[in-house]
Subunit: 268 residues, 6 copies
């Protein structure tokens, strides 16, 4: 068993969920966020931290033997907001890991790195980037930092391009993108257990019948998702209007993100 | 639910089968053929039509919101016969659809578009055409028409390269090519249900252990065939002599079609 | 040297040009068209023929040891016109060749088989078809017939996807598509000289700096085009207005063909 | 049912296992080895043979309608030892088969033909060779001989790149490489039953969740392994120390073979 | 001819060179840098600007119909320095272009986006990123921004991954990476002249005999570099010691950048 | 300049030619063969050696900083002959190099490693092996040994798949396969000069218009052949009868080798 897993972004939706589901997967869960986090319980420690503060991040990483990096902005926002959390923050995290024994990092990347691909196109790990917003661009930055620290220092990472990690699929697009919470947890376990990880991109999606993404390149991890959004297909068909074929939500893998404007920075 | 599905070639073997199995999948099934069709029942309408008659086909398509295009010759015949039904006919159908709101078309293409590939070769959607007769050539023509109407007008199609759609697999080759009737029906449902279809080729085969064809590019449709010809493998091995490895039926994916002569036209 | 080369479509623009340029490349040039052809000279014979007439085509092919098949419609027209010349005609030609010793066929295919590819995309021989009109569809039909007769009978063909075979490039698009007359002639010589031809697609274009098409798969023919549309680039830039980036002529490889409507048939 | 299957290397670990498991899969099992073999029972015949002796091998093959060729060295040894058994021996076997009606050959090749590929890389049948020792090189030689006899004479073979064929997976690497005995047997059955085999490489591994090798190209054989090393993953995690990520056993697909020195020949 | 080309980073080495060489390629060259620039001459205007200042960049771009974006850090530096110039700066530039009629942008990307590829590996436009420093990461960020603005707004860009743009090749590695100044200029002309540009990556290298990078995907631009570092090979071999095969400069495409440490930020 | 280059097989046709042409490319040429070699001249030393004698080969390699390994059988022969020279011999050579500072090895491989590919198929470095005889199989063995010694010890090699190295092309097939003597020499120079070589396959052919083989993956060596068999095409067409398209010499890349029987061993 692992000794201490750091979860950044622990106050967010995914962080809150993983805080519960990862209990017992390590002796200690170190929970960190810039926002307030409910107080530590047994087997937990809470370490507030601004990811944009490099010195603080170095301390944060100390003593951890695994990191689940959820911290940062997870929707389309202005460059200013994205810069602090998703650019400087991810650099700070990787550089802190380098200085602290290089614990494995599970980096929460996103399908919005490839959001402008058509939903009729299947993608594998060689698909070119096609970001659908500054948020997606920032996740490409993070993947590039991970690649750099792997080639230069040997830092291992799983780059998990999360689809839609919600309790259940909620619309037609999620029939393809749904990533069940349990499947996320089992992926984290697989990544920390593997003898060798390298710097490996993993599509963060359950084994959905309608899926767009091919994880066969990463089969060596032995991760086999169990859930399938198709179990909810009938219910969705009954309750959610089918989108028109040329609506962003039916056309592009990134869905409505492709329709978002660029958010103005303060100075604009 | 759909309002009206048109089935062309409704008097044929596949048409007769689908007439039964698609009952209730649309408010009305419009059944059409150049041959006689048993009289319409509840939820059916019979519209005789010669596919070579463009004006008639326009009328035929009117008011439909989905088309299963089985009409035409389905075996190797003379150019004359193939021309009327499979060339002019498919052009008439697509042009009629264009003029009538572009209902989705499920086009019954064929494995005979690629029949000269060796049975030891696995094919995906990028495999080059290798037709094994004029019939196969005519289906390539149909696929090209579908591509044209998609790129030029936005017409959506599923190009289903049907293997062997019989009640059960009957010989060694069908261990690979069998397309169960139920799997055909579930494919039709998936194609009509999908928010976005594009112009997508689908190998028309069940999930046969011995299969040659890879449908992963079309996974976004959420179609998962359920039947497997391997369930009949023992029985076939017991009752059907194993063909020699260099017989057409064991060598080429198109089987005996590759051995057919070119059928003379009237004028020849 | 060859004994007798048949040129179909000999009254057309390309046919007239090749009639001159191929003089002396065979003992006899047999010139055929459905339209009137200027009278035969030394080393020529004129054989009028309607390609839609199978029996006549059989006679036409007799005694030839090479065929340059230009005959048929070469622009976007109605299905009726295309059917007679480009579908039935090409079938008649191949079936006549089969019955007459299978002389090599140089089949004038077209870039309009792939016309909906974007001009920023480079294509090689594995590019999927994307026809831009019924004309392009008919050329796909012809290529499929050639493939069939090769696999089934051993008939050899060069499938030449002609770009723009004009005396000189005339507009911006032709900087990519230009196929000089001399390069066409040297290709014909190379195809007839090669010990082994198979059924080989060749992009019919000169070695244009701005080219989109990759012929390396066909290097075994030893054909090396000599002309380069770039020699005319300055003149074109000076005299022809640069098209907007989203005009069909700048966007799609098939140029304005992608903007053509479907031409109505007589009956429509 | 087959009449007579020859098993070479029948005294070895795999040979002993298959002797038991293939009982009844042919009227007669002919068992051969250079080492002593327990006496023949019903439905068996024992034929001692040195594979390096060409004349003897010809006799050995006579009358067999299927061959499971396990004979030879199966670990890293000196060139001298490998030459006699794995180079000369495999040549002798193929040449003997050619002279005896060309019974199908199941050739026990090895993952050590590709042992220097990283464990984070998934391989299919197009992966380049990267042998990890003279043993691996000798298996490449055998695969090349099989290819030669197929192209030149039509000899059919299955080239089975065996992973780790042990009663159960014993360490972390075997989570990927394990090839259960039952799956090996069902593969042999599938190979002998297929109407057409060609010269087909098959990765010899069970359907392990952690697998590195992709057999989809060989799906036409209808072989579907049933076992999964993941069933033993927990036990291995509990009882076998996890290797460091840069140890040969965790880094390279060939595992410790990549760390072996070259064994000196007698003369060295 | 173009009306006004903006050159950012005009005080730098490349900027100074292009200022001279692009004279006369547009009615006006607008020269900008955060550093001091020699005073404007005829046909020039000097507009000092900090790329990190979004409002200033908007003004800077106004009225330009082409941009050569050289501005920013071009060597390995701390995150702080790179952030301001290469992350925020490139965002500011693209967003300013969006708001100002979307003039074409030639973005000076870098071979350091792929610097960890081995020198024995040939790359085309599908090669995965392998950045060799934060500088390379920042250029990936820039390419991603360009892709986003193309997909979302239609902004066209050439992403020029510059090798070594020096007056002449100076060492062994530059035999592969040299990008002559004249070839850079002719590329700029080609990019601004093309009817359609899209968002196209171009390897910024001359036609060096020893080159690693394949530009055939971008042939549609009609750009044909003229210079060849091989002309200097003998001189380099005579005057520059050949590096050992495992030195960074001989091993990785990014050369010594792969050996650079991560530069500490102010706060570190 | 190099100090001492070893040429094995120095009494053969290629060896004799290279002895002349490499004079002055190293301080000393060490010439070795099992057959008699004309006496050493200035800057030469003659060292007779049987490649099958491992101890002798170790001595032979001592003190060399480059090896051109031509030794062995170069036509189709019995397994016995091939084994001694081409299997044991190449193993001895590589193991001797390992023990002597690992001088670069230029290994004379052959097009007969891929001889069963059709002449209408273009091959690059990823083409699968298809040997056309035991000779071709032995060259695959040699390439595998080279790969092993590279991965295990770092030994660098150029694997030169020689086409037809004759003073001039002599027949139709050599229009594709000709490898001029000067081009061979310039390749040797390029290989020894390159800072980094790795284990790189190079097609040994001139830049023939009719060529089948693509060397772009090896462009990093900076080798550009200068000769072109097409210069002799007219003469060959005039003096050598064109082969029929189904003769081995026109059909397969290996030419008549594909028609050779397997030569019997002594014991057969």
């Amino acid at each position: 068993m692992m000794n201490r897993i750091l979860i950044t972004g622990a106050a967010g939706q995914l962080g809150t969920m993983l805080r519960e589901k990862l209990r017992g997967h390590a002796a200690v869960l170190r929970l960190s966020d810039i926002a307030e986090i409910p107080a530590a319980r047994d087997g937990e420690e809470v370490v507030p931290c601004d990811l944009a503060d490099g010195a603080a991040v170095r301390k944060l990483v100390e003593g951890c033997d695994g990191i689940v990096h959820l911290g940062g902005i997870s929707v389309e926002r202005s460059f200013d907001l994205i810069e602090a959390a998703n650019l400087r923050g991810v650099y700070n995290l990787y550089d802190a890991a380098r200085a602290n024994g290089m614990p494995r990092i599970i980096f929460a990347s996103s399908n919005h790195t490839i959001g402008f691909h058509d939903q009729t196109t299947r993608l594998d790990h060689t698909a070119p980037y096609r970001p659908d917003g500054l948020y997606g661009v920032s996740k490409i930055f993070g993947e590039a930092v991970a690649s750099l620290y792997h080639d230069k220092f040997g830092q291992e990472s799983a780059l998990v391009r999360i689809g839609s990690c919600t309790p259940r699929p909620e619309n037609w697009r999620m029939l393809a993108t749904w990533f069940s919470q349990d499947d996320f947890v089992s992926l984290i376990d697989a990544v920390f257990a593997a003898p060798r990880l390298g710097c490996t991109m993993v599509w963060g999606a359950s084994k959905n019948d309608h899926g767009w993404w091919d994880n066969t390149h990463a089969a060596f991890l032995g991760w086999h998702p169990k859930d399938n959004a198709a179990a909810y297909a009938e219910e969705i068909a009954r309750t959610v209007p089918r989108p028109g074929r040329d609506e962003a939500v039916a056309r592009y893998q990134g869905g409505v993100f492709t329709d978002e404007p660029i958010h103005p920075s303060k100075e604009d």
